[in-house]
């Protein structure tokens, strides 16, 4: 992986709320979301996150039935996919793309990988919990964070440390 990341651009329209319920407010909110999607799809900003969204769709298809790993894995539920999708949407546009996967317990995973000993994995549960683990050379960091629509700063910091190595 060759990402060089020094800081995340504070540009995220993923959780746009207009604070109003009028037609105008809804229109503005829709336009902002559309703009955000176009940025994601562009080659200059957030293209990687766009690829991760595609991967998430593939994982959903592959893991919708149980035993998808040959060892009795739980299916990835719609609830988990919804949480995972919201999690992806919440990233700043400059975030390097994770690779997307699933774990045998039915959680969706996002991995930022530099080497086997410099890597971060974040699991998204159907309840919207984020379970993460990172190897940073000899250092280990792991824990859980609730997901309330914003990516926890602790996870953004870990991504930065993994990909900028």
């Amino acid at each position: 992986m060759t990402h060089t990341l020094t800081a995340f651009t504070p540009l995220s329209f993923g959780n746009v709320t207009t604070g109003g319920s009028s037609g105008a407010a809804q229109y503005i909110g829709k336009q902002l979301r559309e703009g955000w999607r176009r940025l994601r799809a562009s080659n200059s900003l957030g293209a990687g996150i766009g690829a991760a969204v595609e991967e998430l769709h593939d994982v959903a298809e592959e893991c919708r039935s149980g035993n998808w790993d040959g060892y009795g894995a739980a299916p990835v539920s719609w609830g988990t996919l919804e949480q995972a999708s919201r999690f992806l949407d919440a990233f700043p546009l400059s975030t390097p793309a994770p690779s997307v996967g699933a774990e045998p317990d039915g959680h969706v995973t996002f991995e930022w990988y530099h080497s086997p000993r410099r890597t971060l994995s974040v699991s998204v549960s159907p309840e919207g919990e984020l379970h993460y683990a990172a190897l940073l050379g000899l250092r280990k960091v792991f824990g859980s964070e609730p997901f309330f629509g914003e990516v926890p700063q602790s996870i953004l910091d870990l991504i930065c440390r993994v990909v900028s190595a």
Partner: protein, 136 residues
């Protein structure tokens, strides 16, 4: 399921195989994602001991795992028992009818983050072997 009586203890030097039927669990640099080593159903993680198996016999076991779910066998992640025990896990022989070398890695913590960090460290010591059943 038929079980043998008193299976022998797994030694530290023994190699264990976790068969991979998910292409997404293999990274582009031919290492394995930790997702493959998350125990489910908790608390057991199924593996196959290499002990006394030829390479061909070992792949046959893997083909059985893949055939059971009608998927392709992408390869296997090999790890020594000593690497597993380093994280306070244990390897228990659990022979089954179709696989007398079946074993389970047990002793996993209940907390998901703790499982994940152990899985990451184990896969860092795994060797991925891409393969298929050699001709007889």
């Amino acid at each position: 399921m038929t079980e043998r009586s008193e299976p022998d203890r797994v030694t530290d030097e023994e190699r264990l195989a976790r068969f991979i039927v998910r292409g997404r669990w293999i990274r582009s640099d031919q290492t394995v994602r930790p997702d493959a080593f998350i125990p489910h159903p908790h608390p057991d993680l199924s593996v196959t001991r290499h002990k006394n198996l030829s390479e061909q016999e070992l792949w046959r076991v893997g083909e059985g795992v893949a055939d059971a779910v009608a998927k392709a066998l992408h390869g296997r992640a090999d790890v020594r028992a000593s690497a597993v025990r380093r994280y306070r896990l244990e390897v228990e022989p659990k022979p089954v009818r179709d696989n007398p070398n079946h074993a389970c890695i047990v002793g996993w913590p209940v907390e998901k983050p703790a499982q994940k960090i152990i899985a990451q460290q184990i896969v860092a010591e795994c060797k991925f072997v891409r393969g298929s059943v050699p001709a007889a």
